[in-house]
């Protein structure tokens, strides 16, 4: 007790000790708060809405593993919408990743006539613009957006901005290996890359930079 009181008295009198205590407290706060803040920042990238029936389910392009397409087909089978949209890009060797995605969705039970394709989806903004055009052409007013969890909030922000009069609902691919996982993302090399790139992409989207 006496030692504690003496320490407190010393802290009160010595400026150096006071600054030292502040520095230690700051370092401890950084040590304990950083993981919490980093986890929060990653979770903030995700947007998931409650399931709603819509005109179309859109599997955003760019997933090499095709888990977005798999999820879109799953939602279609559950009856959340009548149509499915897939996207992709063409390569100089004459193939199109969207075609492969379409074949995959068909193999999961979605009839060919219910699948529509958006071509040259080089980035989210280009894809959102093409989706708006397709929705106008087909007379669709609502869509369920299926994408990777890390991409879900930005994808929603972008499509809602590109097509202000329509309704969009987010139903991302569940997190967990091999998909991106927000919890302790900094401990896994691939998740770090995805998360950092997503933050950079958010910055680019918000300032309206490269398109």
């Amino acid at each position: 007790m006496d030692t504690t009181l003496a320490s407190l008295r010393y802290l009160k009198q010595s400026k150096l000790a006071r600054w030292g205590a502040v520095a230690v407290a700051c370092l401890a706060a950084i040590y304990f708060l950083t993981p919490v803040l980093l986890n929060k920042a990653a979770v903030g990238l995700i947007r998931e809405d409650r399931p709603v029936k819509a005109d179309v389910i859109v599997a955003m392009a760019g997933d090499f593993r095709c888990n977005r397409e798999k999820r879109a087909a799953e939602l279609w089978r559950q009856g959340w919408a009548d149509n499915v949209v897939v996207g992709g890009v063409s390569y100089p060797w004459g193939f199109h990743t969207g075609e492969a995605a379409r074949r995959y969705v068909m193999s999961l039970g979605v009839p060919e006539e219910k699948i529509f394709m958006i071509c040259e989806t080089l980035n989210t903004r280009a894809e959102a613009k093409a989706l708006d055009d397709l929705m106008r052409e087909r007379g669709w007013n609502s869509a369920i957006i299926v994408t990777s969890a890390f991409h879900s909030r930005r994808a929603m922000y972008t499509v809602e901005k590109a097509a202000p009069g329509r309704s969009f609902y987010s139903s991302p691919v569940p997190t967990g290996s091999p998909e991106w996982t927000p919890r302790a993302w900094w401990s896994r090399r691939d998740d770090v890359y995805i998360t950092m790139r997503e933050f950079a992409s958010w910055a680019n989207t918000l300032v309206g930079g490269w398109q």
Partner: protein, 204 residues
């Protein structure tokens, strides 16, 4: 006290300003930092790793093959959509341009967390086939970093490695790159990869 605070505020502002200038300078210097001079050496095999959407390296590869730079070509790719490997198509394209089918192989790689993991698999494949030297043709922005990384992995297996890229790809990538989304994305992506790989032992 006020004076001291102002002094510190100036110091912080100057440091932030210098940091911003440094970042901008680094950004503008990205092409020269990332792209190494191409080096072509006669090898046992050409490793065709520049198979991407914006690549036009097919012509370069077939020219190298015709000039006798190597006897075999391996097209390297991991899947870009369900069961879709661009390397399979690049192989067909090289065959249609005159390369004998038995000399062109498509090597399907798993989706790897970083280049280091993929390079280990490529080096194992080259070693398993008894080849002692390889010419790695990659994307220009990948040439300096992947070049040095691949050299380390290959030399560990006793394989000599030269790293090159298509001059057309380099010209296209560096033309007006700061104004084009995919070009800037590739440059910044590569810079990010280099920084991140330092922290993860499986990628170094």
């Amino acid at each position: 006290m006020k004076k001291l605070r102002r002094k510190w505020a100036y110091r912080v502002l100057i440091s932030l300003g210098l940091l911003a200038v440094g970042c901008i300078a680094l950004f503008f210097a990205l092409p020269s930092l990332l792209i190494a001079p191409a080096s072509v050496a006669k090898s046992d095999v050409i490793l065709y790793g520049a198979i991407s959407k914006h690549s036009t390296a097919d012509k370069y590869i077939i020219d190298l093959y015709r000039q006798g730079a190597a006897r075999k070509i391996i097209c390297l790719s991991s899947q870009v959509s369900r069961d879709l490997y661009p390397g399979d198509y690049a192989r067909e394209s090289l065959i249609s341009q005159g390369a004998p089918a038995e000399d062109v192989i498509s090597l399907r790689l798993p989706i790897a967390p970083c280049g280091g993991v993929a390079l280990t698999k490529i080096a194992d494949f080259v070693k398993a086939n008894g080849w002692k030297s390889a010419l790695y043709v990659t994307d220009p922005e990948d040439s300096r970093y992947s070049g040095s990384l691949a050299r380390r992995f290959f030399e560990r297996e006793g394989i000599a490695l030269a790293v090159s890229y298509s001059p057309e790809d380099r010209e296209e990538l560096t033309r007006d790159w700061r104004r084009t989304h995919w070009k800037t994305q590739r440059m910044l992506g590569e810079a990010m990869i280099i920084i991140l790989d330092r922290f993860y032992s499986e990628c170094r």
